[in-house]
Subunit: 313 residues, 2 copies
Amino acid sequence: MSNNFKVHILGSSAAIPTSTRLTSSQLVNYHNKYMLIDCAEGAQMQIRRFRLPLMKINHIFISHLHGDHYLGLPGLIFSMHLLGRKKKLHVYSPSGIQEIIEVQYRISKLEPGFDIQYHVITKGKQLLYSDNHISIETIEMMHRLPAYGFLIKEKPSERNIRKEAIEQFDIPVSSIPAIKNGADYRTASGEIIPNEKMTLPPSPPRVYACCSDTGYTENYITEIANADLLYHEATFLNDKADIAKEKTHCTALEAATIASKANVKKLMMGHYSARYDELSLFVDEAQTLFENTILAEEGLVVEIEQVKPDNET
Amino acid sequence: MSNNFKVHILGSSAAIPTSTRLTSSQLVNYHNKYMLIDCAEGAQMQIRRFRLPLMKINHIFISHLHGDHYLGLPGLIFSMHLLGRKKKLHVYSPSGIQEIIEVQYRISKLEPGFDIQYHVITKGKQLLYSDNHISIETIEMMHRLPAYGFLIKEKPSERNIRKEAIEQFDIPVSSIPAIKNGADYRTASGEIIPNEKMTLPPSPPRVYACCSDTGYTENYITEIANADLLYHEATFLNDKADIAKEKTHCTALEAATIASKANVKKLMMGHYSARYDELSLFVDEAQTLFENTILAEEGLVVEIEQVKPDNET
């Protein structure tokens, strides 16, 4: 059984919410760890609406400090406090979010009853988070403010030892961890059993590349290459490519170009300008270049599935 | 035809939003003037959802600086800017909101393209707004932070001159304004016609008393006396009266007590604690004391209707 790896879309609008779309946030769930990426106005309401566990969010990643990506954070923190949170919360963001939050504590005379550790994201590749299962690194975007995407990479898992091999070669329990890590095995009679005879390769580690607001650039294509899922902003359609360029945003065609050049498995677009009602036009445009394209929409859950390993034996 | 006087409920929850209730805001519409009272997280989405004219809001009144009453303001201002607003916006609030907003302009490097005039509400009765039709005064609440309600009073209208009287006494057009203001009329032959013989009294001016977060106090009962509509917070039911007192909030029973002592025509409760699912319990409790009670709920529109004047003739 592979670990859960899911992306829940909370909001898909750029800059201004519409009557049906909220500004952009998403909740990533890896094996019951919940990580919030951006926290737009209304994110906490969406978390409740979709019955996601608000109090299990321990890590919040803010891509950049335009209002449509952080305005829900003060309210989420106040709610966590009022719901009795005691556990530390980690907030990763370009410099400034701590000041925005703390001026509000002071004026509202409400200090949360839990610690918040602010991690300031700066230029250059940064490893923000790492545990036994995943790591999260920054991806530099090209925007009007310092802006970052996030590369969530599963760590390589151990090889799968075959039950029959354990019986056939009479392998003691104490030798199994080394074999799972790729070691060969020497039997009681001194015979060397090559690892490949006992194990199957693990599934390849899954990668989610989440690219926030950015003008078109190929700077990060190698970083996101071969990702299982790429979230990429597509604020405009190609007929507004000039506005996209002026505002350092991308079109659906540009998002598809990145997906194609990076050879990712699937593209999810988001961050649509409020001027568009009919989002299927985004898919139509992107699919002229990259077939496996979907739309981020409020309530969508995308499961990043494990790919079956090639059988090496 | 009387002027429109309507209250649109945008959010009804206290402190924490629920999956169906947003924190508290309402939009008051008087004769195509739109005034926002409190601006909770998500208020701008509700305004769009209920197809209310976001760009026609020129006056925003913030009762106090707890997050559940102002967190939607930065997003609303950013949206007004992005939608091209040029007209000045007036924000009335206890001291602090300007700092909260301006720290965000600086960090986001987004200065709105329109002026905001901040009016600081301080202790003591203040007249915040006045035009030809209405005035808006503060009502001092009793809360953990300085908190205010708002008394929206229609100005007395002119008396209605009867058509038959104009013909009967041959009144020239130039004399009509004075008669509408209550003057008697001297005919060509020198006869004095008492005003009551020519006119009917105007409808009594309508009054909306909007009372924000407060512990139980009778301090403002004379100020809100006889209001056509009283909005009053009712955060808890009576079985949590001790918590209400500790947190300086009211119960449904206390809201009804205020409504009854102030002899208002109708009570609308709001600002319910997120712990309650079943709001009909609030009405049941309040109606043991005050019959004409309704619940503020998202999307509700309450029309404050003109009462037909007593016929004095």
